[in-house]
Symmetry: none
Subunit: 198 residues, 4 copies
DNA sequence: AATGAATGAGAGTTCATTCAT
DNA sequence: GATGAATGAACTCTCATTCAT
């Protein structure tokens, strides 16, 4: 397999993101991706083992970049709350900016073989760890409640973001996704119950 | 097409739920479903238009039953908060009880054609409306905060439940899903911020 | 897989023999064989696991029939020499009659995977055993020389017949193959050395 | 095309003999042969027109050398019988020494296109002529029987040798091939019939 | 002469769907 | 209604060959 540098590798990944984003993984034919990338079908197999490996590499690269950028940004935040705000904002902004990738992440990754899903969830685990670290940090500093398990909180945060992106993707995308970041964080922090209703 | 009653119709739906739950929609062969249902392949096409219609009908029926039961139960609840608690509990309990169906709902529905997804989201909309009605009722009664959009709250609730089920499905399912209902509701209501940290 | 009875099974085998005989195993496309058999491509896979299995089945059936017929005929012969004459005659006659099959046996079987070749040579072993039994019977009766190993004699007999068929196939087939049976047997028995030249 | 000399030319032929001998002509990938020869894939096409030409050249060269050596040796033999002995011995010895080449000759040459097979049999014809010349010489000298056609005798000799080599190749090659030369010649000359059984 | 990345035609196989019985 | 053998379009992947460097 050729090295992962060079125009073609990138062109194929871009084409794959576009086609898969448009028609879904199963309906995305290698021939279409090749045409979109201005490359022969066989060329794809110089850079990727097979179709599944292409999807995996696509996710790996894009998500990896997102994670790296996110980590850098989180380092500039002081409090866990500030970190959470940045994470939520980045997640929604990124999905809004790269619709194709969001589509792949949200929709396509859930299908495919058990084996593939396994590998993909390993990649997601990095993201989960970042979220859980923020939560644990907040708990240690006495800012976040310790009586609810970190995992449940993480699932609320990720699930909410995920659902927000899904809704937005399935809608006509006429509203701004990232502008809902503030509301989401507010909800996470205080819930929707009016204070004196305990 | 035969009417939607009779042993075979049910047998096929059960078989479909089982096979799709096990191997996913795309890998679920009609021949396997037929064999599981003790029915000839062609028979399936007497009851369903095509494979996609089978998936759709499966979801429709199972989800419809869930919605009906849910509505009945919600009628016995007095406050919006109580209603929310019942909804969360039923959602998690139901997923835990019928793993195959949860698998289909969570994972398989997200793929497939735009057309199918469209129809499915119409079915989900019923559920969304139920959730949003509870929220609006709470807002009207001054129990729930009115400064956050109903849709965002709904997405948090559904997204969280969805993610909780997904996590549980991808895990070895060694923990009880429905036992986390209380924590989830607590989070929805008060958030995870310690009170004096405003 | 469907049962091995019925028109289609036979039609496919016949078509395969014809096409493979004409262009060789590797160049024999499933689509061509299907068209020749007046059958859809997929139908072939109802009767055979894959292309290789088709070749194997073809050989198995045809060669099996030949072996059965041969055994019956050998039972009517009294002396080992008479048996040898019948075997040689049948071998050449059969090849002459069914040119396609001869082609497959001689040429195509030698290629393909080690695995396939292994299976095929197991089938041939039946034939080898028949030849060797005749030789051993002759040795026991003191008619055939015991100072030369049965295997070497068998290889001479089979190799000679094989080569005669090969030559005939590669030639324009203008001469009668089976008419050389007598010469062949004469050679096997007495060699080509003039008697007083020891 | 480069001239048929030089290190690379030889290296490619050697590599081809090795790879083809191991996995067969059809499964022998140009890329593998190139790697084995420490040469770029494209380089092979500087020395050979295509894959088929490579196989042909391989046979041509190796078989040509064998023929030249054989002719030289036959010149030192006085009687036709002595010549036959030398030919049989050389044939078996050569096959035993260069297993890869034997494999190619026996197995791979039989497949491939009609066109290729045609060219190859032209090369073999040289060998056939040598054998037939020995037979005719023997007939003229009254040593060999004139009542059996030269071609049939030649086919017996070549077919027997061929089958002996084939058997040996398909076996685990635990026995000595060349040691059976004497038995073979004995069979050719006197047949396997005990003398007083005419 | 030498390279090896790129090409793209080609072929086996799968499987949802049909239809004669 | 029920069957299941038959269909054939669709699609991934291979690999001999080319050609710009």
């Amino acid at each position: 397999m050729a090295k992962k540098s060079g125009d073609k590798y990138e062109a194929i990944l871009d084409a794959a993101a576009k086609i898969i984003g448009e028609v879904g993984y199963h309906k995305a034919q290698i021939s279409k991706i090749a045409r979109e990338a201005n490359v022969a079908e066989g060329t794809i197999y110089l850079y990727f083992e097979n179709k599944q490996d292409l999807l995996l590499s696509l996710f790996q690269k894009r998500f990896g970049e997102f994670i790296v950028n996110l980590k850098n940004e989180l380092n500039t935040a002081k409090t866990p709350l500030e970190k959470l705000r940045k994470l939520v904002t980045r997640h929604l902004e990124n999905s809004e900016k790269d619709r194709n990738f969001a589509q792949v992440t949200q929709i396509e990754l859930r299908q495919a073989d058990r084996a593939l899903r396994q590998k993909l969830s390993e990649l997601l685990r990095d993201y989960f760890t970042i979220i859980e670290n923020i939560i644990d940090e907040g708990k240690e500093q006495g800012i976040f409640r310790s009586d609810i398990s970190t995992k449940v909180i993480r699932r609320m945060i990720f699930g909410t973001l995920d659902e927000m992106v899904s809704s937005w993707l399935l809608s006509s995308r006429q509203y701004s996704l990232s502008k809902q970041a503030k509301d989401a964080v507010e909800l996470f922090c205080h819930g929707f119950l009016v204070k004196n209703n305990d």
